[in-house]
């Protein structure tokens, strides 16, 4: 179906659907309409998976049209093994977000649903774009719906949070734009594949790498530019937190794989220590910060930063290994680990935020001290919450285990201490997550409000059940995912270990 323009459909169907929902207004059943659009988009996106040829790294489902000819900018879409799973993650999560906002959002539901549908299309565009400017357009455009979502449906301090979110990301990305324009002046093309091939000297490479690091580092977010994330997460409505944690953060990791490593391999190798240092700081230091949070959402937000540290660690640990052993053998597992961590974190963090949303909808507080003994009143919910918490700590058998395990394993090849520090997450992560579970779920019923809680309804059970299914499925049987990404990641490693300095 949709041969030759499948990706366009995945981008524009939700955007147009979102506009229809927007203009149809609150009276014309915005919720079912939005659900239909997102469900159809998800079903269509499944044909990406079925139609995908996982042998070879070549781009697939290519669409190429001139867009702004005077500037050689093309409407160029395609996916490979790296971006395809992320698109599926996005279309899948959006369905859940629409469901999650079903009863909760009473203020301007049509605009709420429309914002998420439009965001879905734009994020698909980010992952599918094969033209640097097209990528940048989607990358920036994504900020507008998110800005509005946090600003309108957010918590008390939403305006501070949303402006901080917007300016942080905008600030990060403008440097990337200058870099892209500079590379255009060298390559005379905006095609990402051409930018992969252009020769660059060391100084430009370093500067370009740093600009990418700012752009994607803010997005991931990496320590020390992570401070917007806790604010944005805490203030955003549940749906906003979910899309932010589950999908938007992945754009940072994706950017490192698609831009930094292949375009400026020498600078990446030169500055890998910096990224590894930042990643380990995120894993260890942010882990401890998560421990002391009194707000559930903030706790999960900080744990997101720590988990995303594994993604960047897995990607960049490649370089010390190559430096140590002289060959790229065995580094693949690091990238695979990073990718698995991204997908799995998409499910788990989404689920954690949805769980907190379930509690918040009933109690209207996120303070951990306000809860206690929830399992007595909400046994089903407690079961799900414990499962996702276990996945969050990286329990074997859940998806959280795969990525972290692979990254730690591969880190040993680089340096014992890198692996050691990364492995502390198993303790710290367990500490903050399980302590959260203990304080919220277990124990005696803490107060009358908790005593009045009702267990999750069918809609909520369905959302959490689906996520639980995937968390366990990916945990037990990661092979199909790893297989799909394999050749593309091998290609990235090839590109990242091939010097493109001028004159060599």
């Amino acid at each position: 179906m949709f041969d030759g323009y499948l990706l366009s459909v995945l981008i524009w169907l939700p955007i147009i659907g979102g506009l229809v929902v927007l203009f149809a207004g609150d009276k014309f059943a915005p919720r079912p309409l939005a659900l239909a659009v997102s469900a159809i988009t998800f079903l269509i996106s499944l044909s990406l998976w079925t139609g995908f040829n996982s042998t070879g790294y070549q781009m697939q489902f290519v669409e190429l049209m001139p867009w702004i000819e005077s500037f050689k900018i093309n409407y160029h879409l395609a996916v490979d093994g790296i971006s395809m799973p992320l698109i599926l993650l996005n279309t899948f999560i959006t369905v859940l977000i629409v469901l999650a906002g079903w009863e909760v959002i009473k203020n301007k539901p049509a605009q709420y649903m429309a914002a998420f549908l439009i965001m879905e299309g734009i994020i698909n565009g980010v992952f599918a774009a094969q033209d640097a400017i097209l990528f940048y357009v989607f990358f920036e455009a994504m900020l507008i719906p998110m800005f509005i979502v946090i600003g309108i449906w957010g918590g008390d301090n939403r305006i501070y949070a949303t402006i901080k979110f917007f300016l942080y990301t905008f600030f990060g990305s403008v440097f990337m734009l200058v870099s892209l324009l500079y590379m255009f002046s060298q390559a005379d093309s905006f095609a990402i594949a051409d930018l992969h091939d252009v020769k660059l000297g060391m100084t430009p490479q370093i500067l370009i790498f740093l600009s990418f690091l700012i752009a994607f580092g803010v997005k991931v977010p990496m320590w020390p530019v992570h401070t917007w994330l806790p604010d944005a997460h805490v203030q955003a409505p549940t749906g906003g937190s979910v899309i932010l944690a589950a999908v938007m953060l992945k754009i940072g990791g994706y950017g490192f794989l698609r831009f930094s490593l292949p375009m400026v391999p020498d600078a990446s190798s030169e500055l890998a220590w910096l990224v590894i240092f930042m990643s380990l700081t995120a894993v260890v230091y942010i882990g401890f910060i998560a421990l002391v949070q009194s707000d559930m959402k903030k706790l999960v937000a900080y744990s997101s930063i720590a988990h995303m540290g594994f993604v960047t660690l897995g990607i960049f640990v490649l370089f010390p290994i190559v430096a140590n052993t002289g060959s790229s053998e065995g580094t693949l597992m690091g990238l695979q680990g990073g990718m698995m961590q991204m997908i799995s974190h998409g499910f788990i963090s989404g689920a954690m935020f949805l769980c907190i949303g379930v509690l918040y909808d009933r109690m209207h507080t996120r303070e951990i001290t306000a809860y206690g003994g929830v399992s007595n009143k909400m046994p089903w919910f407690a079961a799900f919450f414990v499962l996702f918490s276990m996945a969050n700590t990286g329990l074997p058998g859940t998806s959280g285990f795969i990525g972290e395990f692979m990254v730690i394993l591969v880190s040993f090849k680089a340096n014992f201490w890198i692996a050691f520090l990364a492995a502390t997450t198993l303790i710290v992560g367990a500490a903050y997550t399980l302590w959260l579970v203990k304080r919220v779920i277990f124990g005696a019923v803490a107060n009358d409000n908790v005593a009045a809680l009702t267990d999750i309804n069918k809609r909520e059970t369905f959302i959490l059940g689906v996520l639980a299914f995937f968390v366990i499925l990916v945990g037990l049987w990661p092979q199909p995912l790893i297989h799909v990404m394999n050749d593309s990641l091998v290609h990235v490693i090839e590109q990242a270990t091939t010097s493109k300095l001028v004159g060599r």
Binding site: I68, S70, Y136, I152, I159, F166, L177, F184, S185
Partner: protein, 509 residues
């Protein structure tokens, strides 16, 4: 209508054909002026309709000239699609045509937007429209001028009309102050420009742009102290007219003091004419001195978007905020010009045209917020607009995001193209300042959006009801919607306008 071949220059009768739109505009304006004299106040609508008709017919005449056989013939002879007439003083080329159409259509839009404002303030007089038409004539002459003298004449025609318009509300102290400032500073700027022109004339021996360029080609221009002095004076004059730092002081006061309808006019179409003037003088005339003006313009541009954007943050008056934002936008326009490449000129042209479209929309929303007896000029007047009128708020959202340069609005491509031009001119440092400053700029645009969308309206009228925006006519509503949607449509498909600008620059310069 044009069947004869090019008339040789020794004939006493010049070729009127290239100037038909201007001639029509002059006659039309004269007629409107005469007719208006015999109209009662209640019949002022006729003046408005006639003025619009004159503008649109003039635009039609310009467009009709697009595929002029003359241009094609000229292209065969010189490789450039430009023809000159009136002893080579007047030039018609694709760039001039596109800029003129932009000026005419934007002015027509400005008239539509101004009408409710003028009406509710007893300023609905024929003079607004006739002065506006004369200003348009001045702009068209500036765009097509090929000698320095004609450029100056066009500029003065524009300026005099604008001085009178700014002083239109003569019993208002702030308006008079603004008019005074504008007049004095404008006169100084004109003097500077004229002085620079006279020096260039003294050195090169000609007022004609092409002759000056030819003289430059044969001499060591960067060693010639006279020419450098002339260049400096010309840039000061141009800087004043465009309103870039450090010649920006008049902009906030004039924007703030003028009636909003005049600010709307002042902030849109004349910018396009100023762009044409810079291209004619610096690029066509003093193109050989590119090293000289590139350095000066780099400084002016960098200062403009640094000071414009940072000072705009401190503003609570939305007209002043827009004034400072204009200053920063003019800095961006300079970026494309100082890159010194065809693509850069095209980028600046794209920038100035789209900026005029966006700014017209932004000021139109301010006009809407004003009511009889109430002048909306504070940022807080935007509060809760999305609750009071969601559609206007959405349009304003588009304009503001576009000014901030966020895709997928057209403002992004404008910024992208000028920044690309400076990056390919190896001025990466300037590009970095530009993008950092556009992040600073994003802050105050976001603050305005925040006021519209995230804050609740707090103005109540006597009966405790929320104040509605002024009632606007159908023409206003259609135009503002078209304006807003153009911002997004040009953002999704900027290719055509961009290609048009590139073509025009390639064929003209």
């Amino acid at each position: 209508m044009l069947t004869s071949t090019l008339i040789p220059m020794q004939f006493a009768v010049p070729d009127f054909a290239p100037a038909i739109p201007e001639i029509f505009l002059l006659i039309g304006t004269g007629l409107v002026l005469l007719i208006d004299l015999f109209l009662k106040d209640s019949q002022r609508f006729i003046t408005y309709v006639l003025s619009q008709a004159v503008l649109l017919i003039t635009a039609g005449l310009v467009i009709a000239g697009f595929n002029d056989i003359y241009l094609a013939e000229a292209a065969q002879v010189t490789g450039k699609q430009s023809i000159t007439t009136f002893s080579d003083m007047f030039v018609l080329d694709p760039m001039a045509q596109i800029l003129k159409v932009a000026v005419l259509l934007i002015t027509a839009g400005v008239f539509v937007y101004s009408r409710p404002y003028l009406f509710s303030r007893e300023m609905y007089k024929g003079e607004y429209f006739t002065l506006g038409l004369f200003a348009v004539l001045g702009m068209m002459i500036m765009i097509s001028a090929k000698t320095m003298l004609l450029i100056y004449l066009g500029l003065e025609l524009l300026s005099l009309a604008m001085y009178a318009l700014v002083a239109f509300r003569r019993d208002n102290g702030r308006a008079s102050e603004a008019a005074m400032k504008y007049f004095v500073l404008g006169a100084i700027a004109s003097g500077m420009l004229l002085y620079g022109m006279s020096i260039i004339y003294g050195v090169s021996g000609s007022l004609h742009i092409d002759h000056i360029a030819a003289y430059m080609g044969n001499h060591e221009v960067m060693q010639n102290i006279g020419l450098l002095l002339g260049l400096a004076f010309i840039i000061v004059g141009l800087g004043f007219k465009l309103g870039v730092v450090p010649f920006q002081m008049w902009i906030p006061d004039v924007y703030d003091g003028s009636p909003t309808a005049v600010t709307l006019f002042l902030g849109t179409a004349p910018k396009i004419a100023a762009f044409a003037m810079i291209i004619r003088l610096l690029v066509e005339g003093l193109g050989e001195m590119v090293q000289g003006w590139q350095q000066i313009l780099s400084m002016l541009a960098a200062l403009s978007f640094i000071i414009g954007n940072i000072v705009a943050i401190a503003q609570t008056n939305i007209k002043r905020m827009f004034a400072y934002s204009t200053i920063s936008h003019m800095g961006f326009v300079l970026l494309g010009i100082l890159a010194g490449s065809e693509l850069g000129y095209a980028a600046s042209m794209f920038y100035i045209i789209t900026y005029a479209i966006i700014a017209a929309g932004g000021f139109a929303i301010i006009i809407l917020l004003s009511r009889t007896g109430y002048e909306a000029d504070q940022l807080n007047d935007l509060k809760g607009l999305s609750t009071r009128h969601p559609w206007y708020a959405f349009m304003m959202l588009l304009f503001l995001f576009s000014m901030a340069g966020v895709p997928p609005t057209v403002g992004f491509y404008a910024k992208l193209s000028v920044i690309q031009a400076v990056v390919s001119a190896d001025l990466v440092w300037l590009a970095v300042i530009a993008v950092v400053m556009s992040v600073v700029g994003a802050y105050y645009y976001l603050r305005a959006i925040k006021l519209m969308y995230f804050d609740q309206p707090d103005e109540k009228d006597g009966a405790g009801k929320l104040l509605e925006p002024a009632k606007a006519g159908l023409d206003f509503n259609v135009l503002i919607s078209a304006n807003g949607l153009a911002v997004i449509a040009l953002g999704i498909l900027p290719g055509t306008l961009m290609a048009l600008c590139v073509m025009a620059v390639k064929a003209s310069l």
